[in-house]
């Protein structure tokens, strides 16, 4: 459960101040499927970064599962990123020297899980994205769509509640893009809260709830579906 209140994020660019997010208030119940759209520079990525605790708002509050995130120290933030949030990036961000399975295991490795458990759950996560047979492949040996699916497997291996995807299909052809979206939708169907930033209206329209941003302001909210 996410609650944003009068959230602002300003960037100082020389003399000027850019209001990347301008008084955004928003409530996202758990299990939602939300698409975030808007022109370039409208603050979509900034919002996602704040929701993912990679960035902190200039003012306003962000409450995650009833806890105000501004109170948290670095280690708590890291721990929440680790356990509650999964990221999917436009450019996949797989570690090239690690195999698909090792990439998926990475978050569990950071959290100090036992290698055997890691392997099991990592493999299971790869199976959920349809890549159970690609464990030992390096990222360079996988297609773009497959790489993004490995990234999704990595994002869900810690069983987070929230999946944040910033233009996950931006680097993919439409067929692989659709497949990636389907996989994420399937995960959402199992209860994962899903936020997808996209420029592709076909993908954006699939979400039950659609947010449109312009100049850092939430311009349109299709609202919580009944």
């Amino acid at each position: 459960m996410i609650q944003l209140q009068e959230l602002c994020r300003d960037f100082d660019v020389g003399e000027e101040v850019v209001h990347a997010l301008d008084h955004v208030s928003l409530k996202l119940p758990a299990g939602e499927y939300v698409s975030i759209m808007g022109p370039s520079g409208s603050g979509k990525s900034t919002l996602l970064n704040i929701l993912g605790l990679l960035d902190t708002p200039t003012s306003g509050s962000y409450t995650l599962d009833g806890v105000n995130t501004s109170q948290m120290d670095d280690n708590e933030l890291a721990s929440i990123r680790q356990n509650k949030i999964g990221f999917v990036f436009q450019s996949f961000h797989l570690v090239p020297r690690l195999s698909a399975l090792e990439n998926v295991e990475l978050p569990m490795m950071l959290s100090g899980n036992d290698p055997k458990l890691r392997r099991e759950r990592g493999h299971a996560a790869l199976e959920r994205v349809g890549l159970g047979h690609r464990d030992s492949h390096r990222p360079s040996q996988l297609s773009g769509g497959e790489r993004q699916r490995v990234a999704i497997a990595r994002a869900i291996v810690m069983e987070p509640k929230l999946l944040l995807a910033d233009e996950p299909t931006g680097n993919l052809d439409s067929a692989s893009g659709r497949e990636v979206v389907k996989i994420m939708e399937a995960l959402n169907a199992q209860g994962l809260t899903l936020l997808v930033v996209t420029h592709d209206p076909n993908i954006g329209e699939r979400a039950r709830r659609q947010l449109k941003f312009k100049d850092g302001r939430l311009e349109h909210d299709s609202g919580v579906p009944a």
Partner: protein
């Protein structure tokens, strides 16, 4: 994060950039090898010199005419003061000390030594049979000046192994006449060949009775009085006795220098020990240079892998974890380099032993351990800055590869 995983990640990064890893290993390895080679040089020199002094005999105390201590004396006085000769009477007097087991007066000079038409200029030592016992020389043939004492001379001589072959060739030398300066003497013995000793090349010497040498060189003065104390503990006592007795005989003037083998040994030991440490220290500087190199390369590594650092942060890595990863990497570089350096160093030293077998090259253990420690400490120390830089990266910027 588990230690093993941290090591694996860091190791993986090293394998991933083999060129960089190799350069770093080389830099550290050269530093460590330099420490080993230089310290083994110094150590070999130290051992060579101390062994030489030890080979002079045991519990040695040596009396040298003249004062070597400039103990605050007026320089004008030093020049005015001509040292009195050290004489056989002095030697006899010192022999009365209860702490002196053996004593030999030594006269040294050079004379032409000839047999028939063969003539050579050779060092001549005048002494007594006690000298052989003190120096622990072994005989190849015959006896060392039999029945000769400080009072009694004889037309006899003892020759070194090289003198024997040069003058007698394959002829049997014992009992043969030899001309030494203006005197004739029979060969009573031949010394067993030995390595060069600090003072004398045992192989190239002719030894005659001390009074005969005094007559030959026409001087009552002794070059040295060499004495052997009754025990190690008695050495300083014998030294004090020799000083006191000779001073009494020289009208209260302390115009001789009395040194103990121990003192000389420890002086040389100290000098060469310091030298070795200095060499090791100089070489250790190259380890610090290697450390600075590691730092630069790690900084490059951090900027090469900013996106990876950003990712790790997004995946929930803490500052400490990021620091641990990069520190481990730097440490591995240094430790591996140090190990390679140890191998390299020991290899070079072994080769030195083969090509130059007079000195016994062995890297001192403290140098090996020290180099290893310094290398690893440098790795960690110089890894700190890059690791912190990685940990301080802003994840968003890092993920965008900036």
């Amino acid at each position: 994060m588990r230690v093993l995983d941290c090591n694996k990640m860091a190791g993986g990064a090293l394998v991933r950039y083999p060129g960089r890893t190799f350069m770093m290993l080389l830099a550290t390895a050269i530093g460590v090898a330099a420490v080993l080679v230089l310290t083994s040089l110094g150590e070999a020199a130290r051992r060579f010199v101390t062994d030489e002094f030890q080979s002079l005999g045991t519990h040695l105390v040596i009396v040298i005419p003249g004062r070597s201590e400039t103990s605050g004396a007026n320089p004008a006085m030093m020049i005015a003061e001509t040292p009195r000769d050290l004489t056989l009477d002095d030697a006899r007097a010192v022999l009365r000390s209860p702490h002196v087991a053996r004593l030999a007066p030594v006269v040294v000079g050079a004379a032409s030594v000839s047999r028939g038409s063969l003539e050579r200029e050779i060092s001549v030592i005048g002494t007594t049979p006690e000298f052989r016992k003190i120096r622990e020389w072994r005989m190849r043939l015959g006896e060392f000046l039999p029945n000769v004492t400080m009072e009694r001379g004889a037309p006899l001589c003892v020759i070194g192994a090289k003198v024997r072959t040069e003058i007698f060739g394959t002829d049997p030398p014992l009992g043969q006449w030899l001309r030494v300066g203006d005197r004739r003497c029979r060969v009573s013995g031949v010394l067993a060949p030995e390595g060069t000793s600090v003072m004398i090349d045992v192989n190239e010497v002719v030894i005659i009775p001390v009074i005969d040498a005094q007559a030959l060189f026409n001087s009552p003065g002794l070059f040295r009085i060499v004495l052997q104390a009754t025990s190690r503990e008695a050495m300083p006592l014998a030294q004090a006795d020799a000083k006191r007795i000779i001073a009494e005989r020289h009208y209260g003037e302390e115009d001789v220098t009395v040194i103990t083998q121990d003192a000389v040994l420890s002086t040389f030991d100290g000098i060469f020990g310091t030298l070795t440490m200095a060499l090791g220290g100089i070489a250790a500087i190259s380890l610090v240079v290697a450390g600075v190199l590691i730092m630069n390369v790690m900084l490059v590594a951090v900027s090469q892998r900013t996106a990876e650092v950003g990712l790790l942060k997004a995946l929930g890595a803490t500052r400490r974890q990021i620091i641990a990863l990069f520190l481990t990497e730097a440490f591995f570089l240094a430790a591996l380099g140090a190990l390679v350096g140890l191998l390299l160093g020991y290899g070079i030293v072994a080769a030195m032993r083969v090509f130059y077998d007079t000195l016994d090259f062995v890297p001192p253990l403290w140098a090996a351990a020290g180099a290893l420690l310094v290398a690893m400490a440098c790795g960690i120390f110089f890894g700190i800055l890059p690791a912190r830089r990685a940990a301080d990266l802003d994840p968003i910027q890092a993920l965008m590869g900036r």
